[in-house]
Amino acid sequence: MLYYSLQRVALAVAICMVAMTILFSLVYVIPGDPASLALGPRATAEMKEALRVRMGLDQPLAMQLYNFFANAVTGNLGYDVWTRRPVTTIIMEALPYTLALAGAGLGWAILIGIPLGCYSAINRNSLMDKITGIISVGTISMPSFLVAVYCLLLFAVHLKWFPAIGAGERGDLADQLWHLVLPAFAIGLGWVGYLARLVRASMLEVLGESHVRTARAFGLPEAMVIRRYALRLAILPTVTLLGIAVGGLLSGAVFAELVFNRPGIGLLVYNEAARRNYPTVMGTVLVTVGVFVICQLVADLLVALLDPRVRRSL
C-alpha cells in the first residue's frame, strides 16, 4: 500500500510538471506579443519594454522556465500584470468559492445519484427505474450552462426563491449557502443522471455475480447483501470516475460563475484571459490542474483502500 501510494504521488507530481511546461510554452504558441497586445496599439517601445521586463519576458526561455518552476514550488506564481498583487493571493481569494461550488455540485450529485442508481438496479425494469432512466439521459445531455441560465430565469427571476447573482455576503455563511444553491444545482444536475446510470450498470453487474448468490445462499439480510457485498464492489468504477469528474465540474464551474456572476477560478480565468494577464491565467490554470491531479490521486488511493486486489497487483 505504501509503495502504491508513493508511486501514485510520484505520478501526480510528474503530471503537474508536464502540465506546467505545456502551460508555459502555451504563452509562446499563442500569436502576438503579450506586452504590445496588453498595452494597445498606441503604446511606445519603452512602455512595451518595461512591461516585458515586468513580466519576465526579456530573459532567455530556459531561464524563464526555470524561474517559473522554482517560484511555483515556493508558492510564488508571479504578480498580476494590472494590479501587481501576488497571483497566489488572487487565486486564494477565488479558489474557496469554486471549491465550494464544485464540492456542493458534486456532493448533491453523489447524494442523489448513487442511491438512485442502486434503487434502479435493485428494482430493475420497474416504473421508477424507467422514469429514472429517461430523466438521467435528459440531464446528462443538457449542457450545464443551459441549466444554469434556465435555473436563473425560473428560480431567481420569476419565482424569486433564490438570489440571482453573487456569492453572498462575506462572513455570512447562511447567505453564502443560499447563493450556492442555484449554481450548485446547475452544475451537479448532469452528474446526478450520470452517476445514477453508472451505479445502476455496475450494480446490475455485481448483483449478477456468483458471490452475491453465495451471500444470498447463506440467507444474509438483503440490506447487508446490497450494502456490504454488492455496493462495496459496484462503487469502485464510480470512485475512479469521481476523481475525473472534478475536472469536468471545474470547467462546468466556469459557466456557472459567469451566469451567476460568482467570484471564483472560472470567472477569474475568463476575465484575465481576455486581458492577456498571463501570470494570473497561468497561475489559475496551474492551480486548477493541481486540484484535478490531487482529486485523481485521492480517488486512486480510495479505490486501493476499497479494493484489495488493486493493492495486491501493484
Binding site: R124, G208, E209, S210, H211, R213, T214, A215, R216, A217, F218, G219, L220, P221, E222, M224, R228, Y229, R232, L233, L306, D307, P308, R309, R312
Partner: protein, 348 residues
C-alpha cells in the same frame, strides 16, 4: 421415503426465458434426499443439474420460470414461502458450495468478515464467531487459520478457496449441504485434495448432502443414491450399488462406459456417446435420449417413457426398463419388472 426426506422435490418444471425462446430446463423432475444420506446428481452440461439445485434454494436467476411442482425442504415448500421465510431457511437449514471458488467468494471482503457475517443469526460476541471460523478453517485444512482470516480470497489458491467455501457451508451446520460440482473448476491435484477432504468430512458431518458432479468415481464413492439427469429429466435413479452395477437406462450404460476410470482395456480413443444433448428450446417428443440411443425403437420417438421404479427405489425412464431389468438382473424378488407395461423391444 418422503417422510424422512430432508429435501423432497416433486414434479419440478423450470423454463428459462431467453432471447431465443423458452428453454425447457427441467421437466417433471422428482428427487428425494433422505435424512442423513448423500445423494449424487450426474448429468452432462446442460442437463439441468445446476438449475435443479439452484431451485432447491430458490436461487434461480430472474429469467427462470417455475412451471410447477414443489420443493419441500424440512417440511416446507420453498417455492411458495415468503421471501423472509426463505431467507431464514437459507444458511440455516441448507447451504451451498458453488462450482467456481474464484467467483463465489466476495473479492473485497476478508474471508473472516464473510465467515463472521454468515453467523449473523447467532447472538454471540464477534470474537467468538471469529474463533468458530478459525476452528472450521483448521478442520478443512487451512494452516494458521487465525491469521488467514484477515486475508482476501485472491490471496488463496483455488483449492484453498474451495476449502474455505466448504468451511463456510459447514459453519452453518445445515441439515442439507448442497455441493454444485465443487471440484470441477479445480486442477487435478487440487481436485484430489478436495475429494480427500469431502471423504473425511462425510464421516463427521451428520446432515444430508446433495452432491452434483461429473466425476462418476467420486459419486460412486461418496454417495448413497444417484440420480442421472438427461435433458432436464430424470433418466435413472437408484442406490449407488444398483445403478453402477446394474444400469438400466441406455444413457446410464453409455455414461458408465465413457468413464475413463472404469475402462477395462486401454484403447486409443476415449469412448463417447455419439450425438449431442438435444436443444431444449422445444420440449422433446418421445424419449429425449432417442436420437442418441443405440437401442431406440419406434415407440421411443412417439411416447415419452415414465420413470418405472422397483421396490428398491431403482428406476429408469426407458421403455426397455422392465425387459432390461429382467434380462440383466434375472429374477429378483423386489424387481417390479413383471408388473411393468408390456414392451416389445425392437432392434434397430
Amino acid at each position: 421415503m418422503s417422510a424422512g426426506a430432508v429435501l423432497d422435490i416433486r414434479g419440478l418444471g423450470v423454463d428459462f426465458l431467453t432471447p431465443r425462446g423458452r428453454v425447457h430446463a427441467l421437466r417433471d423432475v422428482s428427487l428425494q434426499v433422505p435424512r442423513g444420506s448423500v445423494v449424487g446428481v450426474v448429468g452432462e452440461s446442460g442437463s439441468g443439474k445446476s438449475t435443479l439445485i439452484l431451485a432447491a434454494l430458490r436461487l434461480l436467476p430472474a429469467n427462470a420460470l417455475i412451471l410447477g411442482g414443489e420443493v419441500v425442504l424440512d417440511g416446507e415448500d420453498v417455492l411458495r414461502m415468503s421471501p423472509a421465510a426463505l431467507r431464514d431457511l437459507r444458511g440455516r437449514k441448507a447451504t451451498m458450495v458453488f462450482q467456481d471458488p474464484s467467483t463465489s467468494l466476495n473479492p473485497v471482503l476478508t474471508i473472516g468478515r464473510q465467515m463472521i457475517d454468515i453467523q449473523y443469526r447467532d447472538r454471540v460476541p464477534t470474537a467468538r464467531k471469529r474463533d468458530r471460523a478459525a476452528t472450521m478453517l483448521r478442520k478443512v485444512g487451512i494452516p494458521d487459520p487465525a491469521t488467514r482470516l484477515d486475508n482476501y480470497p485472491h490471496e488463496f489458491s483455488g483449492g484453498m478457496r474451495q476449502r474455505i467455501a466448504i468451511a463456510m457451508a459447514l459453519l452453518c451446520n445445515p441439515d442439507l449441504l448442497i455441493a454444485d460440482e465443487p471440484t470441477t473448476a479445480l486442477d487435478v491435484t487440487m481436485e484430489a485434495q478436495i475429494i480427500h477432504l469431502l471423504r473425511q468430512l462425510k464421516s463427521e458431518f451428520h446432515g444430508s448432502i446433495l452432491f452434483v458432479s461429473h466425476n462418476l468415481g467420486l459419486i460412486a464413492e461418496l454417495c448413497d443414491r444417484v440420480v442421472i439427469l438427461y435433458a432436464g429429466a430424470v433418466a435413472e435413479e437408484g442406490s449407488v450399488h444398483d445403478l453402477f452395477h446394474r444400469p438400466r437406462h441406455p444413457y446410464t450404460q453409455a455414461l458408465l462406459e465413457c468413464d475413463p476410470a472404469r475402462l477395462a482395456k486401454v484403447s486409443r480413443e476415449l469412448p463417447t456417446i455419439p450425438g449431442d444433448v438435444p436443444d431444449l428450446l422445444a420440449a422433446p417428443v418421445g424419449c429425449a435420449f432417442a436420437p442418441r440411443c443405440p437401442k431406440v425403437f419406434e415407440r421411443c420417438r412417439r411416447e415419452a417413457p415414465r420413470l418405472v421404479a422397483d421396490g428398491d427405489g431403482h428406476g429408469a425412464a426407458c421403455h426397455l426398463v422392465p425387459a432390461i431389468a429382467s434380462s440383466r438382473v434375472g429374477p429378483r424378488p423386489s424387481t417390479g419388472s413383471g408388473r411393468g407395461p408390456p414392451v416389445e423391444p425392437v432392434e434397430t
